[in-house]
Amino acid sequence: MARRYDSHTTTFSPEGRLYQVEYAIEAISHAGAAVGLRTNEGVVLAAEKKILSKLLETSVASEKMCKLDDHVAVAVAGINSDANLLINSARLFAQRYAAGYSEPVPIEQLVHHLCDQKQGYTQFGGLRPFGVSFLFAGWDKSSGFQLYQSDPSGNYAGWTATAIGANNQAAQAILKSEYAPSMSLNAARKLALKVLKQTMDSTILMPEKVEMCEVARAHEVPSEKHIRFRMASDKELEELCGLANSATLPTS
């Protein structure tokens, strides 16, 4: 029955479903997991790298994380080439906002803009939707630290902690029991990797298989100039993976 209504994005099925959008969301559940946690000191994003090869040139560009502006970053789950397009659009939007308003773009506006773009591909043009889910981590003056999740349908929501990609239900379950909004940034980093360890296929967490970044305060005073995006260094990842591998999770 579904086959008749699933070829065109712009067609509802008799049960009121948009099959192409659902298929896009399904595509992301095969992608590398990404998890995000928000604390009062900053937002942490951690992700599992799927493309691993000794022959790969690891340059500045990362597979899963991307900086959109000094105060906001994303973790990607899904088709990377689709993500690149949206990331470029987000960067342009952020810069145009900054040029017009002389202040950094508020996070929700950026998320909203990107999601409006994604939604357009579910309603007009007959083109397939973007096969990408994002986790946005950022800070702005009015709302402080924020974490958002968006999916191919163009829906988005703000979260205190969430996960996307492979095994995200398992990740969300762990976060539900272990995450506390009053956590320190350090504790959040450790928990992020603990969660990844549980959702990834391997029994031991290798630092080469994960990426982590954060948008956090550089100094005590949370002014715009002191918020910065930072990718975790190899050394830091090694340390945190070591901790995750030796720690035992409480039985839920």
């Binding site: 500045v60 960067r91 342009l92 900054a98 040029a99």
Partner: protein, 226 residues
Amino acid sequence: VEAKRESRPARGAPQNPLLAMSIMSYNGAAIIAMVGKNCVAIASDLRFGINQQQTTAVDMKKIHKIHDHLYVGLSGLATDQMTLAQKFKFRHNLYKLREGRNMKPETFAHVVSNVLYEKRFGPYYAEPVVAGLDPVTGEPFITGMDLIGAMAPTTNFVVCGNNEESLFGVCESMYKENLEPEELFEVIAQCLLAGVNRDCLSGWGGVVHVISKDKLITRTLKGRMD
């Protein structure tokens, strides 16, 4: 290059055939950039005037930071100067996000030139001065440009503003090659203050940045407040 246009008197006001204003002298500015030994210095005055006669602010810096080793100074019409500064920041931010590194001064100078030439037949009334160090080698680079983007890179100094002749004169007399940062600061500061003294459209103090690989010296100058 000076773009002259007849200023239109207010409706009903008596016509004054002697009143012809150049749009480049509406606000007033003076900027100098100099090359030293492994360092560059860029200085500007602080006056902001409206319609030539009225001084409205005395803390208007015409120099904008692009990154730690690259600064751009803009003279001419203040509104164009502000808009261009935002445009350059926009371009550099995107470059930095995509390339993962800061722009070299020469590259940035070409971006500035391009942005100005895009408006070849309806230009921004601003003349920029770019001063910076290569982020990798630390080699100094300065260039001046006219309002439609013709670059004039030199190895000694560039000036721009309302009183270019005076600024050229003092720089020619006082500039020496291979000055250390503190010496360069002295020279550029004295050149700026001397250069703006004969110009009623620039002055009211100044600001100087001396950029070396590991250090930045920024100082405000006190000059004749007139």
